[in-house]
Amino acid sequence: MSARIVLVDDDDGVRQVAELSLQMLGGHQVLAFGSGEAAVRDAASFAPELLVLDVSMPHMSGPDVLGALRRQPALQQVPAIFLTAKTQAKEVEELLALGAADVVAKPFDPAHLCARVQQVLAGRPKA
């Protein structure tokens, strides 16, 4: 199942690896942003079916970006996956409580990331 995915990560390397993983392994169309501000400005025009957001970013954190995107009428229902280096059970719970569909720990396996994306797109309950 190919989907349109908006990806936001401030780290060039991580962003490119995630983008390539989603494109090459998942066959998805990816629009990648290096900052939350840019994503908030331009994401809606891409009509994404899924958001993949880094958590720790300067200026606008992943949760901030999610909040701002969710306030846009077209993006209210779009599921989101967080990428994070913080993987304490409590931190994961907090991210899920913000309305994320899943949380993927860094570093991730490209195949694993694609599998989680697939699960969320299929509307399966989160693991």
Binding site: V14, A18, L20, M24, A85, A89, P107, F108, P110
Partner: protein, 513 residues
């Protein structure tokens, strides 16, 4: 003239005298009044209260006498303390002990009569004399002697008071010089009774201001009920109550503290005493460490994520098929980024355990099922190692543990076993009922734990040798984490090893049925 002999137990007598800490103290109106009263009662020109020091007699009070001290050799009091109770010499000049005594002769006018009652300490040591002196030979009557005895007891009482006061001053000074805050409060009203200098300085209150307050007033996070509970526990016999809290200075500033309350029980109205340690510095260091760990975590993980992801993408052939040699190199790099990621996770886990921030979600778990899940998770690496994982545990044995952490513990033991198990052998898992505990075991048939490694196997960064690290991978943190995590879940770990048969176990509390 004959100098006085030394009383028996002179060393003890002097030690006791020095304990009063009264020698060379300034004049005191009450001692002076007693001396004056003694002269009046005896009808003599002068009177004194003397203390007999090692080499001198020293006058605490002198009435009608311009004298602070004299040598012990020339002192009449030196002789007087050798006798019993009262000492009287009607004419000093005609007594061979004092005839030609320069001190007596050179006084103005010369001293001819001496009468005095000993100052006897509670331990029975004569420390000095209350004496009356005159320029003419004479005798006291019994009523006068009795009155002087009473006055000497009064003087001794004053000495006792002086000693207590000095001791209190000392203790107060010692307590004031303690870097921790010390408080005394009433166990019934909770009102502060006393506080040391450090406490008053830190809080910015005077003692009078503090006496109108209770611990609840200066601890923003402490409720009246909570503190009442602490005090009740002390009154119920709990030896001490410890907690961390916050204090509020008179200017509204707050600072973190560690507090220890104890009960002063030997009183009708019980008092409670608090030692309060300012932990601002410790908290600041903890915060710095947390920030450091968090930064290191992020800074290490971010580039690792790129490297790891890029290599894995290459390895999957997503960027095109690789020639066999390149494929081998990429696999090598991929497995080592896995290892690096595991080391970072291990270090963070250890840090969380060490700082007490490892969160546990305890649940009732079926031992066999947990082992099965761990076995399945390691199926891939077992196959790669040519080792079979056999789970012998029968379902039904329930234990208490955090499923995530238990998986980490068992996973660590299983992957260790797989590292050392010879190709073609089996790693066996089992669960044994041990009464209050469930013993989970992981057995391998490798070469066993080397003798010289056994006593440090659960220490951090312990590995049998560096060669193993390179050959087998791992951070050297695994077993140290296994031990600490298991202990946090209320359990214990251990092992039994001989060549060909090594059993690691984790014992966890059995679930209540």
């Amino acid at each position: 003239m004959r100098p006085p002999a030394l009383p028996p137990n002179e060393a003890e007598r002097l030690a006791e005298l020095y304990g009063y800490d009264i020698l060379d103290t300034p004049g005191d109106r009450v001692f002076d009044a007693i001396a004056e009263l003694a002269a009046t009662i005896a009808g003599t020109r002068s009177a004194g209260i003397t203390l007999v020091d090692r080499e001198r007699q020293w006058f605490k009070a002198a009435h009608g006498l311009a004298c602070e001290q004299s040598t012990r050799e020339e002192s009449v009091c030196g002789h007087a303390i050798l006798g019993h109770d009262f000492f009287e010499v009607p004419d000093l000049r005609s007594d061979e002990r004092f005839a030609g005594n320069a001190f007596l002769e050179q006084s103005d006018p010369p001293i001819r009569f001496y009468g005095g009652s000993q100052l006897v300490s509670p331990n029975g040591h004569p420390l000095g004399m209350l004496c009356v002196l005159d320029a003419e030979p004479r005798q006291l009557d019994e009523r006068q002697r009795q009155a002087l005895r009473t006055l000497s007891q009064l003087a001794m009482g004053l000495m006792e008071d002086h000693r207590h006061r000095r001791q209190q001053e000392w203790f107060a000074r010692i307590i004031d010089s303690v870097a921790d805050e010390v408080f005394v409060a009433d166990a019934q009203t909770h009102g502060y009774v006393h506080a040391n200098r450090t406490a008053l300085d830190n809080l910015g209150y005077t003692l009078e201001q503090l006496r109108g307050l209770t611990p609840v007033d200066i601890s923003p996070s402490l409720t009246r009920d909570e503190f009442g509970g602490h005090v009740r526990r002390l009154l119920d016999g709990v030896p001490e109550v410890n907690y961390e809290g916050e204090r509020e200075r008179s200017n509204g500033e707050r600072y973190p503290v560690e507090i220890r309350w104890q009960l002063l029980q030997d009183r009708k109205r019980p008092l409670i005493v608090a030692l309060v340690h300012d932990i601002s510095e410790r908290k600041a260091v903890e915060k710095m460490k947390d920030e450091f760990v968090s930064v290191v975590n992020h800074e290490l993980r971010t580039p690792l994520t790129s490297v790891h992801g890029a290599i894995k993408l290459l390895a999957t052939g997503a960027a095109g098929a690789l020639p066999p040699q390149a494929q081998y190199l990429v696999q090598l790099a991929a497995s080592n980024t896995d290892r690096l990621a595991a080391i970072i996770n291990d270090i963070l886990d250890l840090e969380k355990i060490a700082s007490g921030r490892m969160e546990l979600a305890l649940a009732t778990l079926d031992a066999a099922q947990q082992l099965q899940e761990v076995a399945q998770a390691h199926e891939g690496s077992a196959q790669a190692a040519g080792v079979a994982i056999t789970n012998r545990a029968a379902p039904g044995l329930q234990l208490r543990g955090d499923p995530l952490r238990l998986h980490q513990v068992l996973g660590n033991l299983v992957s260790n076993a797989l590292k050392y198990a010879p190709r073609g052998s089996a790693v066996e898992l089992d669960a044994l009922d041990e009464g209050a505990q469930v013993r989970l075991t992981v057995t391998d048939h490798g070469s066993g734990v080397p003798e010289d490694f056994r006593d440090r196997i659960f220490q951090r960064f312990a590995q049998a040798d560096m060669q193993t690290t390179r050959e087998k991978g791992g951070s050297g943190l695994g077993l140290s984490i296994v031990k600490r995590m298991t202990e946090q879940m209320g359990g214990s770990v251990g092992y039994d090893s001989r060549p060909g048969h090594t059993v690691f176990h984790a014992c966890l509390p059995k679930a209540a049925t």
